[in-house]
Symmetry: C2
DNA sequence: TATTGTTATACTCTATAACTATA
DNA sequence: TATAGTTATAGAGTATAACAATA
């Protein structure tokens, strides 16, 4: 990596602005180009259930939506056969939500649809550009996790 | 820039996946953190009117929504005093939409709200990371425009 | 009493179909 | 006839308030 000079405050602000715009445009393109049968908020929930089972309450908090809203979203996923409801044996108030086999495969398909567009774009770049994006991705991952 | 080695096909796919996720997470964070009084679809329309006046039809096509949907969105913006409707002097069927002074300032404020979060993140990075993001932003801009 | 989840109700954004006015 | 825009109507997704069941 070449020696990097210190950017002025306004140069940093400009970079922040352009980087934000680029990320939002790419996110938008990915959403638009990959028409899957899973709606965005449904996909979000399926993804949350991929690593572990969760309660509706947990999902509502994670997704920053109200409990009734999550009730509806979950009901739709159960209707589609993607999510299974189980009573919690230790707490009668709670239900445990888990992905069905079909839900997991719907999730995989939706993710593949999203990856497609981006993968095509990456393949059109040269080695140096790819290396830059590889380094940038590590930074963006940290930034997004902040 | 250090010499870049050629990534395998699957390494590229993995990079595409991680980069996509990072962009989407950042876009999501920006949307969530910057609670502005302008709804996302309204902001989108205001931004389209920033550089030039447009008809409802043009906006509907650009934003990929139906004409009636755009009618409603525009009506709300006119109600808020952010957009002005003018009859097209040469074609009685059309209306010309333009930003009012107040609409332009609402747009500016909403954009500033979005920039805030990202600018703070950028300022927390060191010179080399910033240089990487600067180079990556140029690539991402091209990719997003594809 | 506090917590989990649902139901009731309403608002917003979206869509398609049908309508009006103009070209 | 074709096009620009609106109105009518309906379907999601969201919210708050009120309720039921359980801890």
């Amino acid at each position: 990596m070449m020696a990097a000079r210190t950017l002025s405050r306004s140069e940093k602000a400009q970079l922040a602005s352009q980087l934000r715009l680029s990320c939002m445009r790419i996110a938008r393109r990915v959403r638009f180009e990959s028409q899957s049968e899973v709606a965005p908020h449904q996909l979000s929930v399926l993804a949350r259930l991929d690593d572990k089972d969760r309660t509706p309450r947990e999902l509502a908090v994670i997704e920053c939506v109200s409990a009734p809203s999550m009730t509806k979203t979950v009901a739709a996923l159960v209707d589609r056969g993607w999510v299974l409801r189980t009573d919690d044996p230790t707490d009668g108030r709670q239900v445990i939500l888990s992905l069905t086999r079909s839900g997991r495969s719907a999730l995989r398909a939706a993710i593949r649809a999203r990856e497609g567009w981006m993968a095509t774009r990456i393949e059109g770049l040269d080695d140096e550009e790819i290396e830059t994006l590889r380094l940038a991705t590590e930074i963006l991952q940290r930034v997004a996790a902040t």
